[in-house]
């Protein structure tokens, strides 16, 4: 009986201690588990505004803290090259576990791209959200630094390419083919007699004569057979040094864009641009495979977009162009903007490394060379319809530079379009690709 009472007392005591401990723990946990989330919504979904309207945002700030949150929301407006234009703030008050929406209105701005940094400082929470918005980007004007012998240089390159026998090989790959698609490995000789390869995928359904989706690779990216296309013949070309075209050039991402950079005649992109033309030659000479040579559209992103622009600028056989985040566009402004980054990123990380290691190769020399390869300088020659996608947070290809190139396109105003993807960096989103698909169907009258 005495023992039983003792056990009961012991159990009760332990229970009280545990309950107290749990209660204390729960209290601590509640305090620690709060958070503040900030949802930033531009008045225009695309975050693109006109130069005669204010730039408006709504910020929904939600707190799950049990304690009220007091503080301020500061918003700094900067140019895209990080020059501060203005700083403003508004008081923030959030009761426990609540949400409030705050409106921010930024006065009209001149054409360009701007950074807006929303800085939230409250009782127990600090955060910064960085966004970019555009103002009348179609009014951005840049000076072309097109060398006087630009056309002659590229005509010479094309003439040299014509001297190279392509020796096309089209090898049926039964192992990769399906009931719906026939896959072919394609080989050909290109500029400097370098061997390049590509993948040709021909739908067996509806395949009398189909337009071509000609895809060019990103920076040292291996393109594989594109099996997702029912309405186009897919041709994916691996230019020299990419994917399965690394027999003669096989370098990594750190050096690829630097190969022979001090000599415009030998610079790797001269050969790469010619590889893209050779790919076009291949398509035009293989009508018998069901290729509709009057409907060839090039699609590419990043480095591929630069290649696509150069190809369409040099060759009128390109019917339609769709590009995303075009690398190297407006190279001089891209260099300028990137010089303000806290941390260097591709491609100027590589170019700056080279510049440090080779101080004799000055930036002036760099620009004199790169003016032959800057997509912006090919843009005026392009007359075909163009669709471009831009990620506003892109550091590799600053939006200003992409739009500068876009504004130099020789395409008629109604035939070119661009799409802003506000929260993307060096990429676009699924919605863009769905729109691109619709856009292509419109251009090619495909149901």
């Amino acid at each position: 009986m005495q023992l039983s009472r003792g056990i009961k007392l012991y159990v009760i005591t332990i229970s009280i201690i545990l309950a107290g401990a749990c209660s204390a723990f729960a209290q601590d946990e509640t305090e620690d588990m709060g958070e503040v989330t900030i949802e930033v919504k531009p008045a225009n979904k695309s975050a693109i505004f006109k130069d005669n309207e204010s730039v408006d945002y709504k910020l929904k700030i939600k707190s799950t803290y049990q304690a009220a949150q007091d503080g301020k929301l500061t918003y700094n407006i900067l140019t895209d090259d990080f020059t501060r234009i203005s700083t403003n703030s508004i008081p923030v008050h959030l009761t426990k576990n609540s949400a409030e929406t705050y409106s921010v209105s930024i006065p009209q701005k001149k054409a360009g791209f701007y950074r807006v940094h929303f800085i939230l400082n409250t009782t127990t929470y600090d955060d910064t959200i960085k966004r970019v918005f555009g103002v009348s980007p179609e009014k951005i004007v840049t000076q072309l630094h097109r060398p006087a012998d630009f056309d002659a240089f590229w005509k010479g390159s094309l003439d040299t390419l014509k001297q190279i026998a392509p020796n096309y090989k089209v090898i049926f790959r039964k192992d990769l083919s399906t009931k719906a698609k026939k896959v072919y490995l394609v080989e050909m000789r290109s500029y400097e007699n370098i061997l390049i390869r590509g993948w040709l995928v021909i739908p067996t359904y509806n395949a009398k004569s189909l337009p071509v989706h000609y895809r060019l690779p990103g920076y040292v990216v291996a393109l594989k057979p594109n099996m997702d296309n029912d309405d186009f013949i897919a041709f994916d070309l691996n230019v020299r040094g990419n994917g399965n075209a690394r027999d003669e050039i096989a370098v990594g991402t750190e050096t690829y864009c630097l190969l022979n950079i001090e000599n415009r005649n030998k610079y790797i992109y001269r050969g790469i641009y010619m590889d893209c033309i050779r790919g076009l030659d291949f398509l035009m000479s293989h009508k018998s495979l069901g290729i509709d040579t009057s409907r060839i559209y090039i699609e590419a992103g990043s480095q591929g977009a630069a290649l696509a622009i150069a190809t369409a600028g040099l060759d009128k056989r390109v019917t339609v162009l769709t590009i995303q985040v075009p690398l190297y566009a407006d190279i001089r402004d891209s260099w300028h903007i990137s010089s303000f980054y806290d941390e260097q990123v591709f491609p100027f990380k590589q170019f700056r490394n080279y510049n440090r290691a080779h101080p004799d190769f000055t930036w002036d020399k760099f620009f004199k060379l790169f003016d032959y390869f800057d997509p912006q300088n090919f843009a005026p020659n392009i007359k075909c319809p163009v669709l471009m996608g831009v990620g506003l947070l892109d550091q590799f290809c600053p939006p200003r530079c992409s739009l500068a190139m876009y504004n130099h396109l020789g395409t008629k105003p109604g035939e070119k379009e661009w799409v802003s993807v506000p929260n993307s960096t060096h990429e676009v989103n699924f919605d863009y690709f769905t729109f691109q698909n619709n856009w292509l169907r419109e251009k090619f009258r495909i149901p």
Partner: protein, 281 residues
Amino acid sequence: MKKTYIICLSLIILSSAWQQAFAGWPIGKYRSIVIPSFNYYTSKDSWDRNGTKVKGADGSGFTSYAIGLYFGYGLTRRMDLLVNVLAPYQSSKLVTATGAVTPQNSSGLGDMQVGVSYALINFGYKSYLSIQASGIIPLYKNTNRAIALGYGAYGGEVKLMYAGGIDSKLFKGYYNLEAGYRRFFDFDGPNVLVYSASVGVPVPGRNQVSVEVGGQWASSNNKTFSQNLSVNRDFAFTKAGLNFGHAFTRRFSLFANGFYTFTGRNSGIGYGGSLQAIMKI
């Protein structure tokens, strides 16, 4: 004389057949869609004004065959021009008080619907909320016809459509929801609410199967009920349908559809079907 006509309603039922094959997605700028169709409907029994089933007299009945032509053209990315015409041939067998069976028939162009649809909002290009406004033009006069080819009145319709694709792990397919208001500019109207909901799934081999439930609810000052359903303007019915489609090419598909009107008021109890050739140009 006891008549068992089901006329206007049959045309109303048939005129919406194309929707099963091509729902509320924009056609796309510069592109066209042409849908010739053959439609069939037959009915013997009916529902009275209280929704009570009325058995048709022996030997009586109504049958309609209609050739339809739908044309759509993408004026812009959001706006389509739509034209829909039916040319019905319909026959009925009446049973008189003496028990004699009297066959009657009529044929000709029916109502033409002309309008535009406009995609108000797209949700990531996966689903669309659209509005459609159209006018109804009768291409006939009912005078001296044994069986009316319609109300013989001009009308208008406004309709909201919400269509989209479903691409989840559990289900891949599409849906289409529609609700609208139709008014015939006649003394007795009627005012008609139209509605439908359909869900479809792709089936291997470039096929698709969909189910649809839809109907109409019409109200009019004229509440009288007649066995001659063509004069009834205060009616309702709901039908359920099953559709099967096969895409022969990207541009050419065939759809077959069967339906049954399973509930109603002042309307016929019937079933029917259609065959539609969808040509995308």
